[in-house]
Amino acid sequence: MSTPRARPLADLLRLFVGPGLWFAHLAVLYGAEALICTPPLASGRAMTWIASAATILVLGVLALFGAALVRQPPPADRSEEHTAAAFLHATALLLAVLSALGVVWTASPVALLPVCASPAG
């Protein structure tokens, strides 16, 4: 094998960008709902705006991250030696796609349900 890869930790951590953003998005939506609706600090409209902004922002970052991965393919010239790098690359991309689906899915209640409604609906 030739040169050992220089940034093993960074390569590993890239896997978690997508799922991490998904979790951050969920936390923001849940936190905003708790702050805005439980002791009412603002209107339900504010909740809709915050949720939309967070969703668009996270989807945008995921798209940029995915585009960066697509633009920088793994070292193909030494693919025999760097199968793991190619594997991590593809896995990170797939996870980003799955996370984007998760973000849309998690945000969908904001579009479909009344915001700041009581538990009984």
């Binding site: 969920l26 849940y30 760097h82 793991a84 799955l98």
Partner: protein, 844 residues
Amino acid sequence: MTDTSQRRLASHPNKLPRPKGELEALEAAWELPKGWRILSAVNNTVIGYFYVGAAVLFFLLAGILALLMRLQLAVPSNTFLSAETYNQIFTMHGTVMMFLFAVPVVEAMGVLLLPQMLGARDLPFPRLSAFAFWAYFVGGLIFFGTLFFDLAPSGGWFMYPPLTGTQYSPGLGADFWLLGIGFIEISAIAGAIELIIGVLRTRAPGMTLDRMPMFAWTLLIFAGMIVFAFPAVILATMLLELERALGWPFFIPQKGGDALLWQHLFWFFGHPEVYIIFLPAAGMVSMIVPTMARTPLVGYRLIAVALIATGFFSFGLWVHHMFTTGIPALSLSFFSAASMAVALPSGIQVFSWIATIAAGRLRWSTPSLFVLGFLFIFTLGGLTGVMVAMVPFDWQAHDTYFVVAHFHYVLVGGMVFPLFAAFYYWAPAFSRRALSERLGKITFWLMFAGFNVAFFPMHISGLMGMPRRVYTYPAVMEWGVLNMISTIGAFLFAAGVLIFLVDVVRNLRPTVSQPIGNIWNGPSLEWMHNHVYGPRSVPLVESRDPLWDQPGLSEESKAGRHYLPGTVTGVRETMLTSPIEAIPEALLRLPGAGWTPILAAVLTAGFFMLLTVKATVPALLSGVLAVTAILIWMWESDPRPLARAEIGHGIKVPTYVSGPISHSWWAMVVLLLVAGALYLSYAFSYLYLWTVSPQVWPRPEQLPPIVWPLMSAALLAASSGFIFLISRVLPGGFRNNAAFVVLTALALIALVGGLGMEILAHWRAGLRPDADAHAAMVYMASFLQLDLVLALVVMAAFVIARRLAGLLNRRRRVVYDNLSLLWHYTVAQGLLGLLLVHGFPRLQ
């Protein structure tokens, strides 16, 4: 760095025949203690046997409790058990199954299988495994023993306050749960660190991440999830115990606390816990299915993606255990959506297994039957899971037997059936005889039929409105008939387990050197010839299924043609490889048998248990002795650097490494992640209680003057600065004893001073921790900081002692590196705490 950067790894690095005496030296280095001294063994095979055995023992004990419950519920208005005894039994059944069986047995299988599967000689921290096992075993036995003294907890396995607060649970039962479980969590985290570093750093050369056995992937994710999930419940247990012991009102609404905080923290752990248990079991299935279907696993990459996604998604589901607590409807929908989304990655795995079975020709063996049973039961559990993920349905089914049926389908189907498949599948790798196929099939059919007979009717009794956790019920509707059927099923299931035990007694002959071996024609490395030291020589792995794609591997390895065919330094060793590409980076010298891990574990258990019965002085004594035992053990842990060692093919690797190449550095980083997760849980709790009770938060003018936190922050920053000076700036830092000692002492004084000023500031401002939830949270920040500061005091004294003994210098510095990592983290945590406690109230 290493010579491997200049040389290609070769598949046959060594020539035959091997020099005389090489094998004998290897065997001598790995020789096990004889007779009762085997208790001092630390290598993964022996500890793995103990660990699996202990976990199965707890499975049997908790199973007996289940049978007692089923006897009580067999007929309406039964008086076999009293209400209090029943409460203790169902609490212990759940707690023991989850904390003393499910998580430990998975760690145990990891300890036993992982090194063999990865082509390593042992795990990277053998004594830590031994400590984790003994702590769990001794603590678990004492915890279970409380049942016989009417001291067992009775608040249910999730221990909701206010039922478990001092007002409604005045006895010691809840304390045994809180301290006992808190301490078993420590053991789980120790195991998780071991497994993460084991998977990432001790794989055979060439076993890149994409060639790693799927079981290793699942253990990696399992351990990663423990690192982030367990701290939440550790914090929760600390809060509740502090409330019970000292009256800090975290969960008492009259003082601004909130019982729901417990539920958030518990389920932030508790939901991932389900996947913590399930994922490794899925990993076992991913190993068994290809062997039994005689074809490679279909969708390897998709499964890896699904595992990581499941791991993450499982952290966004916790609120679905709290659908009926009055949380706003939209929030419920977020978690309802996430709960349905997790079915996606789980589905990917199920379809991959089905596709693998379809692609090959399935051998109808006992492991195959258990896998098919798993697929059937787990899928049903998954479907009812999607049902209870729907909020309106959950409101109907909540706290009924429907939920009991659902989670037993998920947990027994998703974990116990794969585990039994694994017992039958891997027994030949560790035993002189395989388990009986005939008895195995009887076991399977009894367990499969018994399980469905026991739990399927619970869906119906639940839908008919029968609540869970009742010690008896009136003769209404068909509850009596359904419960009688469930009881019969439970005994059928138990009969299956009994036959398994007969099989084990008759056929299991554990061995560390002459297992019957690869009777299934499995493709992974644990099926090579095996010894207590793993393979004789470590092969270069060139595919995902090395034994299928690299013929003759086992024989060549046994002859010593591969890497590291003996011991270079005369002691136990394993190869340290890079985390992604598995390139050899160093030779790791491993410790042999010793008494300090078991001693430290028993004394740690003593500390927690004596503390529970309020024997403070003996508890402290036990704690001090435990730390002493750990220090003695650590004294030998940073061995003297030796010359580079040749592992074959002229490749030489260092025998001593420090910094980011060292396995110890990685372990410390993982530990810091644990500490960070704990502190984030604390910050969440602080902010959460503020949203519930903003009225108990002070106005800015009631806070201590700003100069106090600023001085605290300055002291903390200075202490980090002193530590930095030693390593980076001061040229004589490691040569000059006096300068070293003075700087470390100054750093320590600044650190302790910073914490002291913070506590004093609040005390002088008239704040008392038992006054209200805000005050309790403020002191909690200092309490968490105090834990780390105490650890640093001990570690700093240790580092100074090693420096004075001449065991610490510019090169031999792992002990110092670890100290400095923890130190800077502690300072960062302290600064964050100051910002939160003094900054947040000023925002209002």
